[in-house]
Subunit: 200 residues, 2 copies
């Protein structure tokens, strides 16, 4: 379970897409949200868009790893598909904030790798947010406030990468993923391999 967090605009969504396009063994954990879709957002791809009643039902059925309120809407990470995939040796990518990260980490410390992406500067972050269509000045300022708050939790992560250049940053995240897959505990076939080796 690879967690990518960053303040909005620092590049985690772009990096996530590059990683998913590059690597067949990793799947995106698609969050559930009660917020209405933005233009071009697809249900089941960017989010599972659900009603408040449906979100309530999922909470009641303990169907979330974690969930939180953000800007008056609720966002959650559903358990079902991920648990099944992990058992089959699949990897999952989580594009979640520091609170979701804390909750997920508390539930599964062994399997979670936490990566925080920092913007090169806050000015650069504001520029990127302003270039994004459809957000008002007030929304951008509230996102900047939230970015400061998000950045202040950088020390709750295993790895930190500064996104100066998106391709370089992507390469670094890919290196982290490759290395973490070489960890002894994550190589499920290794015990059998060593047993075979010693039996030769």
């Amino acid at each position: 379970m690879l967690i990518l967090s960053s303040p909005s605009g620092a590049g985690k969504t772009t990096i996530s897409r590059m990683l998913l396009a590059d690597d067949d063994e990793i799947n995106l954990s698609v969050s559930v949200t009660t917020r209405p879709p933005r233009p071009q957002e697809l249900d089941g791809v960017h989010y599972h868009f659900v009603s408040d009643a449906e979100f309530d039902r999922m909470i009641a059925e303990d169907d979330f790893y974690e969930w939180a309120h953000v800007f008056g809407h609720r966002y959650g990470t559903p358990k079902g598909r991920i648990r099944a995939g992990l058992k089959e040796g699949q990897d999952f990518l989580f594009d979640i904030d520091w609170q979701g990260t804390q909750q997920l980490f508390q539930k599964d410390q062994q399997d979670v790798v936490r990566v925080f992406i920092l913007p090169p500067s806050l000015d650069e972050l504001r520029t990127r947010l302003m270039a994004r269509a459809g957000d008002s000045a007030a929304v951008i300022e509230s996102r900047m406030e939230r970015a400061r708050s998000e950045i202040s939790h950088w020390d709750g992560y295993d790895y930190v990468v500064v996104n100066d250049d998106v391709y370089e940053c992507f390469g670094k995240v890919r290196e982290i993923l490759a290395a973490e897959r070489m960890r002894r505990q994550r190589q499920t076939g290794l015990i059998g391999f060593v047993r075979q080796l010693m039996a030769d």
Copy 2:
């Protein structure tokens, strides 16, 4: 402190040389030994070759991270240069066995990354040992016995890499090193960077 361990002939010396040639920021920790030099081995490059009396003096002065008996000779990892280098942010590569690894890890759990290199098979290992000039059949068999013993300690390492192909194996070790350098606790400039970021 990056530790590479493997049974003799599984490739750690080759991988170490490739890493040292490729990466200016990592230095080899040159071991001290009482064993006589083999042909082409240079003092201060492959080992620091010392007398038994000199080795005794270093033990008495607590000048080793770890030391051990192997085939009737003593091998040790001297502290001085490494401690100074670590303080300046340098990385060090250790080409040591599982016992040395355990001792080093006990002394500095935070700074140590342990990588174990496995041969693809024991037949392949024997072939590689036989191709090496200067060792008798008896020495090769004792090395094979030692290899089995070394391999049985594979589970005391953070990462495990199978050396099917030396270039691929080198690439993997390099990825591990790159990822470990991105760990939050290892990026000494990060606290200052975030402070500067938030002050913008």
